[in-house]
Subunit: 595 residues, 2 copies
Amino acid sequence: MRGTTKLALALSAGLMLPAAAMANEELLKMEKDPALWSQPAGNYANTRYSELSEINAGNVGSLKVAWTFSTGVLRGHEGGPLVIGDTMYIHAPFPNTVFALDLNDNGRIIWKYEPKQDPDTIPVMCCDTVNRGVAYGDGKIILHQADTTVVALDAKTGAVVWKAVNGDPKSGSTGTSSPFVVKDKVIIGISGGEFGVRGSVTAYSLADGKQVWRGYSMGPDADTLLDPAKTTHLGQPVGKDSGTATWEGDQWKIGGGTTWGWYSYDPALDLLYYGSGNPSTWNPAQRPGDNRWSMTVFARNPDTGMAKWVYQMTPHDEWDYDGINEMILADIPVKGADRKALVHFDRNGFGYTLDRVTGELLVAEKFDPAVNWATHVDMKTGRPQVVDQYSTHAQGEDVNTKGICPAALGSKDQQPATFSPRTGLFYVPTNHVCMDYEPFRVSYTAGQPYVGATLSMYPAPGGTHLGNFIAWDAGEGKIVWSNPEPFSVWSGALSTAGDVVFYGTLEGYLKAVDAKTGKELYKFKTPSGIIGNVNTYMHKGKQYVAVLSGVGGWAGIGMAAGLTEDTAGLGAVGAYKALSNYTQLGGVLTVFTLP
Amino acid sequence: MRGTTKLALALSAGLMLPAAAMANEELLKMEKDPALWSQPAGNYANTRYSELSEINAGNVGSLKVAWTFSTGVLRGHEGGPLVIGDTMYIHAPFPNTVFALDLNDNGRIIWKYEPKQDPDTIPVMCCDTVNRGVAYGDGKIILHQADTTVVALDAKTGAVVWKAVNGDPKSGSTGTSSPFVVKDKVIIGISGGEFGVRGSVTAYSLADGKQVWRGYSMGPDADTLLDPAKTTHLGQPVGKDSGTATWEGDQWKIGGGTTWGWYSYDPALDLLYYGSGNPSTWNPAQRPGDNRWSMTVFARNPDTGMAKWVYQMTPHDEWDYDGINEMILADIPVKGADRKALVHFDRNGFGYTLDRVTGELLVAEKFDPAVNWATHVDMKTGRPQVVDQYSTHAQGEDVNTKGICPAALGSKDQQPATFSPRTGLFYVPTNHVCMDYEPFRVSYTAGQPYVGATLSMYPAPGGTHLGNFIAWDAGEGKIVWSNPEPFSVWSGALSTAGDVVFYGTLEGYLKAVDAKTGKELYKFKTPSGIIGNVNTYMHKGKQYVAVLSGVGGWAGIGMAAGLTEDTAGLGAVGAYKALSNYTQLGGVLTVFTLP
């Protein structure tokens, strides 16, 4: 009963909203202007592609640093700058300082906003105190703080317009993802899958911060905003209470499926896309069943939150292969036919191409040959064919299952890929890391880690390198070229009409490669390791490329948090130990241009 | 009696040493190789001049950043890198991490040394947790830690060779100055004038860290290593116990005169030069008399510590005009005659030119026209003619004396100037700041601040700018050109055979100006405000310029320590408040070269 009432309320709230909303139109217009970088991903489609071509494959080798800016904060700097007019907006990890910088004066500070947050939030952040950036809409800069507070700041002055609270760090909820502005709403995800947080996506009014709807990853239909008859999974209705039916008892209430990745939106279809994370705990024996809808791609109506379709990539996860990586929307030929595609490089090591209208599964192929936990994805059922040897459930509790590829941080983590419509290729920062995984029984206490697994990580067999930067044909599901990197590529990539692809490395290099061949055309050692996303913009008729360096994140958690045990940082510390021979902490924006 | 014994011991220790020592010869050879930057000041003469000319006034405008490196430490980064062969050595403020960086691989870390120090040392550091750099000698890198520990590290491996302890932070002693290697010794100064520390200079054996001699700034002759008959002050013997004779009672025991500035050495004369700091307390009424030998230039024999001559610039200081700024040794014409000169830009606002053989006073002129506390220096007595209106002693305790120029941080603080033998000019980073000063009675407790004055600081009358970068004719005592800067110039300067002078600004700009005219030829915004010293070197036949940014120091103490009260930071916080509109904390090395 209570559930139904909530569903009805959510629906009516949606229906009361005006059909056309200003922010949406403004952002759609802005994303067509390549001088700006108005959204974290550059555009609603999450392509991270820019039409700028002043910097191109022919001249990128002479790139030089235009100016730099230290954020004054150590630890991992994910995300990247926004550029709106003559102003650049950047952010820092906890305490989540936001800066408006004057592009007319080498980044002089126009305003600075530094929230006061309880430092007790820090230990609740599983994988460094990262933040993936601010969003812009309707004259406001939206910040999603570590403590889950959502703040709208006046873009001109930095004055607080409104605040909303999305969760409670005391129960393990934190904020790391970038806000996503659609129509008259701000879409906010949540982190905390390692603390048994039940993931949800919440829409707040862009005007005043009031909550409009919330859709959980699991729970009764009223919570998940799934329609038993109309919401489909691979073309079939999901049925009643599909978000509880594959769980034992009340485990779904602490079931994970958090939503800390990237969001995309198709204005023609009016659908919002994102993925959900791992089911809780990491010990699969404690949660038999498919654990729907963890590890799932969601396509939701942004006004009401109602899901049109879902697709679960990793039913009953046994490896922490969160499904939260970005969904890139591209109209591409898939096996000979033009499709409205959604392309997603999952942590489980499969590159998925779906029909974004219907959720039909078109392609699912490994984008790292090292992937061994599943032989393939059954294209009818959509299920991966799991290999018993690498099944931590089949091997059992307190058994250390060895040699699983990829490691928990995935063949790719949240670092976003890019799509160039000029080459038709996707450029993907990847990890080439395997793991040993030993699940154990764990009991739930609110606000305490709820992991139940001990991990160690190391390079995939046959080499010592921990990453590759690859070009991917999503229509065929094939690697086109692959550049090995000593460490995982943990930065977001950028492709441009200059047929150059940019990415950063954990040692601190910004690299530019030829979009067609992958040939390295330029590299520059920034002050610290790069886990930020490369962006580009134009100012006074000149193209710039900008990136935050500042090593940290899950791969850099050893350095960021001062951990030294190999199994610390959920297993990442051991694998990335050599990183401290190359770089140190420190958050710095580096802005590049041609001489 | 006890004093005499100590003097005898000190003398005999000196006599037992071998006459010629390897480190000295090695360093003398190294300083002639312009590819290296083997000493913090570039050479024993402290000229900070390089014979390199690949980067010159004609092409410096096309300078670009070669690579960068974050130290992982916030707060003020003073000092600068050393370059020995293919290795660069840099350091950080507390915790005083030292890095050996591989110049063949964009600064990859060869080794890192991070001392464990008691964080309780931090509050004992008056003016940020700065460190002015490491020194090299005989295959060792010498670090002078904040807690006064002196550590010799194997330059190849970073392994600890020896350690010595120079003082006790619990009694207010700290280490901020760079070690200085002369012959077979390491010369170490001490900080803590704001805690009543009695300043001293100590020589340790470069081989094993054993103490060889210690010369105090005040006290009986056995402590000061002044010979009553042979040590002269302006040509006259200083007389017996000159280091206690101008003090009332035992005040000299907590008399200040610390030695935290730069050291220079003339191998032909075999004399070591440096200056001593303010007498303690800052309340002049509590210490009548000249307070010798605070505020004094010392010329000492490096083997024995015995002083050949002294010159007290500011007898009975009433303004905190520490005499610790660098002594630049240059053979220049002075009023028509060639002299072996020592040139010193004192915090008291006078540019002094002395005969460095005899200590004869040749020139003493104001290098900032704003200086008003004294009308002039009497050339016979060497005494400044103090203006009653700005005498905090004459005005009295608990009186707020207004409009004193310069402020306590001086017309120039420790940021070292440079001398170009090509132009014959000295290039001086200066402050253009005045103050109100209210002395009050204070009682001494070991390890507690012993200041006794409340200050506020502000720009000198007639403008809003807080600094100038000037060219100075030390033979005539005249400003040749002066470039105003919005903030004090708190970085060390560099001049080269390319007729370019480099310096950094508190907003973060590295600037290159024409040595003859001062015309700005290049500027680049580094990640943070620059209080480090610009150095240059050659690697694989290419010239590089390197500087540490990382705002802080006394001028940046508000940002570094998070202070907001105008009178905090001994008065500096108010004057430099606008700095946070331009830059944030963060230690980053930026290395420049031509395209």
